[in-house]
Subunit: 298 residues, 2 copies
């Protein structure tokens, strides 16, 4: 992963930043810039744009202004779209049309190729770059917002081909201000990698619950009474937000299908080793995974 | 799951109990009976039988005697085999031959059909019953032993067909003394259920790591740098003990293969919904899994 050669964070201090979508990710970003808990203010003014009126009272303490009016992006030096990928794709042309020339438009979407492709079609007097911070929480929504959510997280930036590098430098500066570590990655490569480390693991977690459900349908509910730590961990992500996951799978379809093939290959190899009682093969596959997994997250 | 009709725990207080294999599970059981931390002593005498001399010094504070000599089971009122399933299967005839008439022989193995089948062939003047406590820890080994490990855990007991019910009542009493909740389950059914909630989730975790490894082989190590919470949770069990998992998969082969078929069916359905962009089907499958998963582990 390439760290950005240039990173510009000086602009953030004097900037008005609009966050469109103030759930967990957008709300945490707003709170980190506005200052909250023991964290000082980093941006001059932070405006949050919500979809529902019910969100506004909860948003008030975390940002300078919370509104339902999308036209609030018109005064911003930077606009951050914090919504599920297909919502971002729908919003991009509408938001771009309202923005002031020279302003930065970026996003926090979990897939990048489809979003970057739409960004490349937007008016060329605004700065565009795709973004994906690799952080989150089990609990979603603004109620779970945390000004420290971005601390030390990898923050992937995907340049939009043919557009000014200033966009990447400014977004990298913003990521640094948030406490994250910016990394530049081609959108297609980003999507291949997150298919492997996030989207197919989610799909598999759903399949594990569905397969257990299929057994319980004939066997009864004892299965759920016995489920312990291993099932809890391997299926945790299956409890995630539906709208986000549907958008992710549909906007990263080719990479997800490719990686489902790789998973199928690995499952077939394991199946054959188990069916044949081939201890040497089984030990080889299990040991390679054990070694790799024990070396991660240290 | 049936709770046992009869449970006899009075015998434990006056009993000498031998634990064969003093890793995490056996060591924790010994410590719970012997008394440790703020937990009072529950058994008259607890003897641990280790495989390696290096274990003995670590074992000393957790039990009344620690030895390498398998013949120490001769004086016990109950013998608990705490080893991987194939090791239990090898040990059963050897241990049974050494035991005193009327004593209880049980185990803590993760699969039960193969073990219960061997138990049914043992001399009929000892009491035999299969056992599987549904608890554990990421860290294995005696160093991680915890006298509270069994607190409130489901403890499955699998009767041995044709053998005295006294065995089940005494093992249920022992489980209660350990703080666990005994449940009686037919061995074949136990094995089907744990294939779904433990063995196939483990196999899938290994396959997720192997599939990511296959992508990293051509794409480079950036994948591992980006891996975040979702990958950490879905693959955690892949770091588990090899010898235990090899034994589990080989002694529960038919149920694991059956459930791998169910998983494959669920994955195929998800693949088709993603490939077709069938939002209604996708939402239906994801939502059912989300609802089920959110209702578990509360």
């Amino acid at each position: 992963m390439a760290e950005p050669e240039h990173s510009d964070s000086a602009w953030v201090r004097e900037a008005e930043i609009a966050v469109v979508g103030i759930g967990l990710m957008g709300g945490s970003l707003a709170a980190a810039l506005r200052g909250a808990n023991e964290r000082p203010r980093r941006g001059r003014r932070v405006v949050g744009i919500a979809r529902r009126a019910a969100t506004l009272p909860l948003a008030a303490p975390l940002m300078d202004e919370a509104t339902l009016d999308i036209r609030a992006v018109a005064g911003a030096d930077a606009v951050v779209l914090a919504a599920p990928p297909r919502a971002i794709i729908r919003l991009l042309p509408q938001i771009a049309a309202l923005m002031r020339p020279g302003a930065l438009l970026t996003d926090l979407g979990s897939t990048k190729s489809a979003i970057v492709e739409v960004m490349s079609t937007l008016r060329d007097d605004i700065l565009v770059v795709g973004g994906h911070p690799m952080c989150g929480k089990e609990a979603g929504g603004l109620a779970a917002a945390d000004p420290h959510l971005y601390d030390n997280a990898p923050f992937v930036l995907c340049p939009v081909p043919g557009r000014a590098a200033t966009a990447v430098a400014r977004a990298a500066g913003l990521a640094r201000v948030l406490g994250a570590r910016p990394h530049i990655l081609d959108a297609a490569r980003h999507d291949r990698l997150v298919a492997a480390i996030s989207h197919v693991p989610y799909t598999t977690a759903v399949a594990l619950v569905a397969a257990a459900e299929a057994l319980a349908a004939s066997d009864g509910d004892t299965l759920w009474e016995l489920a312990a730590g291993g099932f809890r961990d391997t299926t945790r992500v299956a409890a995630g937000e539906l709208d986000m996951w549907i958008d992710i799978l549909l906007t990263n379809q080719p990479a997800v299908l490719d990686h489902l093939d790789r998973l199928d290959g690995a499952l077939q190899q394991l199946r054959q080793a188990i069916a044949a009682g081939d201890i040497a093969l089984l030990r080889g596959v299990l040991e390679a995974a054990q070694t790799r997994r024990r070396g991660l997250f240290r």
